[in-house]
Symmetry: C2
Subunit: 297 residues, 2 copies
Amino acid sequence: MNIGIIGLGTMGMGAALNLHRKGHRVTGCDLRPAARAALVAAGAAAVERPDALPEGLDAVLILVVNATQEEAVLFGPEGCVPRLPAGAVAICSATVAPEFARLLEARLNAAGLLMLDAPVSGGRAGAEAGSMTVMASGAPEAFERAGPALEAIAAKVWRLGSSAGIGSTVKMVNQLLAGTHIAVAAEALALGIRAGADPKVLYDVICSSAGNSWMWQNRVPHILAGDDTPASAVNIFVKDLGIVLDQARALAFPAPLAATAHQLFLGAAALGNGAKDDAFVIRVWEALTGIALPGKT
Amino acid sequence: MNIGIIGLGTMGMGAALNLHRKGHRVTGCDLRPAARAALVAAGAAAVERPDALPEGLDAVLILVVNATQEEAVLFGPEGCVPRLPAGAVAICSATVAPEFARLLEARLNAAGLLMLDAPVSGGRAGAEAGSMTVMASGAPEAFERAGPALEAIAAKVWRLGSSAGIGSTVKMVNQLLAGTHIAVAAEALALGIRAGADPKVLYDVICSSAGNSWMWQNRVPHILAGDDTPASAVNIFVKDLGIVLDQARALAFPAPLAATAHQLFLGAAALGNGAKDDAFVIRVWEALTGIALPGKT
């Protein structure tokens, strides 16, 4: 496939490299020169702005941060839609509100393009290994067109429905769980430390017990290592749990655990950790209780 | 080993059958005739009261519901302590406050007995398969004495320290996570249903995504099947999160997620579901939002 990847962050770079390795013709797009240079060094092409992507693309894979950016790279003044041939597919993988995904599909269809509402999960490791989970919905032709690209980046592609919206709905539920699991991992680890448990031993025990979660296993090591370099930042869950709560409110649906977790991520951001790794939501408890976090010299 | 098992519920029965199968001399103890009959049918012995356990036991394994019962079966009017020979070990596996475990150890030591503070995790499946996780602390002699019994019931025995307390501390952290994970699984599934997702598909997608947890994987199938027969009941988490919050309060430690989850289990109990499977904390959202739960005819 001749494919453009817009957004060369953790997820986009992983996807771009996998697509390139598997023989697709890849052009990345990112404002940051370092990201473009890294992709070019791997042998693929890169451009700064979406309206500089090559003509005749089969697909664009969009792995930007939020709905505003997704709208901008498609329909903004520097957007790529005018350069896409009829029948090309926009694989939209940012975490957005289901309603936004539905509106975007209508606009893309009106422009003669296909859309896949295709949020992803799997983190940096999944992106690098080409083993992400894709939660996708869209027209059968969109799935067909996007097939080889999805195969290159994902271990599992879920076909959740024949129009945009349900893909983002399922991703929203995943983010509710993922964000709350990170926050409660921090709460539990902090309580264990306060009560005198060894954090490393506690980590190992929980990994083999009923209290385990994907996030406990994946994020607690960041805390144990004292490494707050963001694999995914606190601000991502400020945003994603915000989307969850906006949607829940629109449905008059009470979500007390997601709301509490959101407040904890906001607390971590208020403490100046918005751009730090999301596991460092634990700094809320460090600030409140004075516990000593591991990994400090 | 010549061992008594006090409490033949889900966990105790699984442990007793595994000990019997692996050649130990097993006497179960439970007030309920049906539980005793089941153990006797499997070829082991059973008695109604702890003071009717055979003399000369090497160990008693206590798998009762709470601290009050644990105290009663050891030191109450019908307790077994007077019948235990010097140097026998009490393997105390109920979920209790760390402070209670420390006091119990002092009393048992004063009576010439050893104690292992040895809460377990792994659920019904782990108990039946003899593959529980044991989070244990106690004197080296207590570990030595209890060794063959633990080997028969557990896939993994954690040695967390040389006196009682830290075993129960680690279990408390596990229960904080486990309880909150069940409540947020219910919150997320309910929101997904409300937003139009197919609950069975949602379950499968999350199992392969970053939102997964041991509890999501283990408990959501109960909801999908509409089967509220308790593997573990709502009231167990009313109790266990209560222990977590009492301990946290004693440490002046704020635990907003555990506190919110506790309120949700209390809500489910208020609705009349205290004795139902803990996954049916989801009935809080059923009651509030009128969503249709799966598995109903």
